[in-house]
């Protein structure tokens, strides 16, 4: 084992690794048409579910409140509108990818 040998292969290794990795990243950035369609479909479905889920929760809450308070149609009506508003808010947040409290998007660390 001679220590005097030039550490050439290892010194260039990082460089080669970086080059290989950047090539890989470039490949990953061009998704096929299939996956683009699949993700668009998934995104659409996600927004749809986001819209409906809040409405379902709102109507359920209104119905339960009516059942216990005896205010038959009014709780349902009120919570229907609140639920649809919450659903739209959810959909908006899902689209803009903002956080819950309407905070500005955090810069990625």
């Amino acid at each position: 084992m001679s220590e005097s040998g030039p550490p050439d292969p290892l010194a260039r290794f990082g460089e080669r690794l970086d080059r290989a990795r950047s090539g890989q990243a470039r490949e990953e950035r061009t998704p096929g048409a299939d996956s683009a369609m699949g993700s668009a479909l998934g995104f659409g479905l996600r927004i749809g579910i986001e819209l409906v889920a809040a409405l379902v929760v709102g109507v359920a809450l209104g119905w339960v409140a009516d059942h216990f308070l005896g205010t038959r149609p009014w709780g349902l009506i009120l919570f229907f509108f609140l639920g649809s508003a919450a659903g739209m808010m959810n959909a908006y947040r899902a689209m803009t990818r903002l956080g819950y409290g309407g905070a500005p998007p955090r810069p990625k660390p």
Binding site: D34, I49, F79, Y100
Partner: protein, 243 residues
């Protein structure tokens, strides 16, 4: 030739070992069996992959490392470095949902994520955890969550109920999304499979569609596991950073 087509039959729960305690039915079902298989497989994969850890990873170790790095990056990008406290949980959720989805793709097996009970329970667990984390980290300040900063105080009577509803709808949308995707995909494949049998000679047409659907369904299974996990991460970020 009449072929009875029941595309929803595949979702039937069957009791393998019936266990009844009083009026409570806690039988070991096919759903529970698949969950056990998923947990055993995940544990086996990770234990085997890390038992002979090499600098240059083999196939198994590569799979485990890819899964780890994938979830680790997700946590780092979406929650931040503080989120690594919850990494074991996020990783477990991801692997459990992923394996549940993928095991369901094996013919004659059973997809436990196609049952809303399972997905909703998972979503409720995430929801409860996120709420507890927010309470522990912020105490009473948690309630400022329900009022967007910068909004006029006059709007509070309208905004606060909407925000609370929006918050409560999170486990519902989280649970329904996974359940609906798995159930819809699997029923669709069963419908086309029934067409294949019913059409006889021309059955190759729905068969071709089914081959394409199967590929799409595999994409959906992985994507839904990813979506479930990333939403968990986003909820955790909201709980940790609040505003």
């Amino acid at each position: 030739m009449a072929v009875e087509s029941r595309p929803l039959e595949q979702f039937t729960i069957e009791r393998i070992i019936p266990i009844h305690i009083g009026s409570l039915d806690i039988s070991y079902t096919n759903s529970a069996l698949l969950m056990t298989i998923a947990v055993v497989l995940i544990t086996a994969l990770l234990v085997l992959a890390t038992s002979r850890a090499a600098l240059v990873p083999g196939r198994l170790q590569s799979i485990a490392e890819l899964a780890y790095e994938f979830v680790a990056n997700m946590v780092r990008d979406n929650v931040g470095t503080e989120g690594f406290e919850y990494f074991p949980l996020v990783f477990s959720i991801f692997m459990f949902v992923l394996f549940g989805n993928l095991l369901g793709m094996i013919p004659y097996s059973f997809t436990f994520t196609s049952h809303i009970v399972v997905t909703f329970a998972l979503a409720l667990a995430v929801f409860a955890l996120v709420t507890i984390v927010a309470f522990v980290k912020h105490g009473v300040r948690f309630f400022t969550f329900f009022f967007p900063s910068g909004a006029p105080v006059v709007m509070a009577p309208i905004l606060v109920p909407i925000e609370i509803l929006s918050y409560l709808s999170r486990p519902v949308s989280l649970g329904i999304r996974l359940f609906a995707n798995m159930m819809a995909g699997h029923s669709m494949m069963a419908v086309f499979a029934a067409f294949t049998v019913a059409l006889g000679l021309f059955g190759f047409l729905p068969l071709a569609i089914n081959v394409a659907l199967f590929a799409l369904e595999i994409v959906v299974t992985v994507l839904q596991a990813y979506v479930f996990t990333i939403l968990t991460c986003l909820y955790l970020r909201d709980a940790i950073h609040l505003h």
